[in-house]
């Protein structure tokens, strides 16, 4: 292909589109891994406070969960934004829904991040016998 003039570059939509794909690929590993560990190999019968606490004792799992949280959340939020974009046309409604989306998105992301980063396992309760 010949290129005559400057190509348009960037823009939010290209970025968003590409992000959906990149995050998707990474999420395949992260989310499926997470599901496998938490819901298949272990089951919710085993999972309790101690389980999680022990897991977050390791920086690896903290990072894992943090990355997963951010990617999945931003991926999902942008997905929802696309859906809103499709179906909500009235100006006012759009503003309301998109603002709500941003607010809820921000608050929950902050909550998730906070707990992953600041969680301190009560040392006494860290028990042996966990992976």
């Amino acid at each position: 292909m010949y290129v005559g003039r400057e190509r348009p570059t960037g823009g939010f939509e290209v970025f968003a589109w590409f992000f959906m794909r990149i995050s998707g690929v990474v999420l395949i590993l992260l989310v499926l891994g997470h599901l496998a560990i938490m819901h298949v190999l272990n089951t919710v019968d085993e999972i309790d406070f101690e389980f999680v606490a022990a897991r977050w004792g390791s920086p690896f799992w903290r990072t894992y969960d943090l990355v997963m949280l951010w990617l999945a959340w931003l991926h999902g939020l942008n997905g929802l934004r696309m859906v809103i974009d499709d179906y909500v046309h009235r100006k006012g409604w759009r503003a309301v829904t998109l603002t709500a989306l941003a607010l809820v998105g921000f608050v929950l992301l902050a909550m998730g991040t906070q707990i992953i980063l600041t969680f301190e396992a009560p040392t006494s309760r860290v028990t042996a016998g966990l992976p």
Binding site: R7, E13, V14, W17
Partner: protein, 232 residues
């Protein structure tokens, strides 16, 4: 062969709401849906309106929703459909009357992507050279007859009528990938928005609807990639 043709009718000058009308028609199995419509028009109910011209799938006049899918009435044989044929106007355009829809918005989007060769240098004495490979690069999208079957089959377009739609993207592709063209940047700029290529969700209804067998989604994907790679 006797078939029941059910047509969604609406005459804004007279009717408040669209309604269904049913007609019994005798056809040959090798007749087209267009023949059935013409039979209705000519022998049963002269008030029916639809567009048609070439009757062999080249002029793009008679795209409509036939048994739940966008088709050209002149390119579906009744034997493919069985004894009940349902015909509706294309979705997402205002209805002028019966099966005739207002295509002005559709053509406005076509015009928006600058559907003409852009090349500022003076042309040579004879032809611009183009290798068969370069020519093949955009062959698929030169076939478009602007029938709008693709755009009006796209759920993304139904959801938001401001979406530029596959037909316009196909026609942009036809020029963007023509080795003689120098206007790719301008066209890509038009398509690089939330109402441009990025609203395509690769749903593929367009491909199934296209009577010219154009791989519409592929064309759209190529445009997306062109935009992505020039942004990286």
């Amino acid at each position: 062969m006797r078939v029941m043709v059910k047509i969604k009718r609406f005459n804004p000058g007279r009717d408040r709401e669209p309604y269904w009308a049913e007609y019994e028609v005798d056809v040959e199995p090798v007749d087209r849906v267009l023949d059935a419509l013409e039979y209705v028009k000519w022998h049963l109910d002269g008030t029916l309106a639809f567009r048609r011209s070439c009757a062999h799938g080249i002029c793009g006049s008679d795209a409509m929703l036939i048994n739940g899918r966008n088709r050209l009435a002149c390119k579906v044989l009744v034997k493919e459909l069985g004894a009940r044929i349902t015909v509706e106007p294309l979705r997402g355009f205002p209805v002028i009357k019966d099966l005739v829809v207002d295509m002005e918005g559709f053509f406005a989007k076509y015009r928006a992507i600058k559907p003409y060769l852009i090349h500022d240098e003076p042309p040579p004495e004879t032809e611009w050279r183009q290798s068969p490979e370069e020519r093949a690069r955009f062959d698929d999208t030169t076939k478009c007859i602007l029938c709008a079957a693709c755009t009006t089959s796209c759920p993304s377009f139904w959801a938001n009528g401001a979406y530029i739609g596959p037909a316009a993207i196909v026609n942009a592709h036809r020029f963007i990938f023509d080795s003689r063209d120098r206007g790719a940047a301008e066209r890509l700029a038009v398509l690089n928005t939330g109402l441009g290529v990025w609203r395509c969700r690769t749903i593929f209804n367009c491909v199934e609807a296209c009577p010219r067998g154009i791989d519409v989604t592929r064309a759209i994907a190529e445009v997306k990639r062109a935009l992505l790679f020039s942004s990286l």
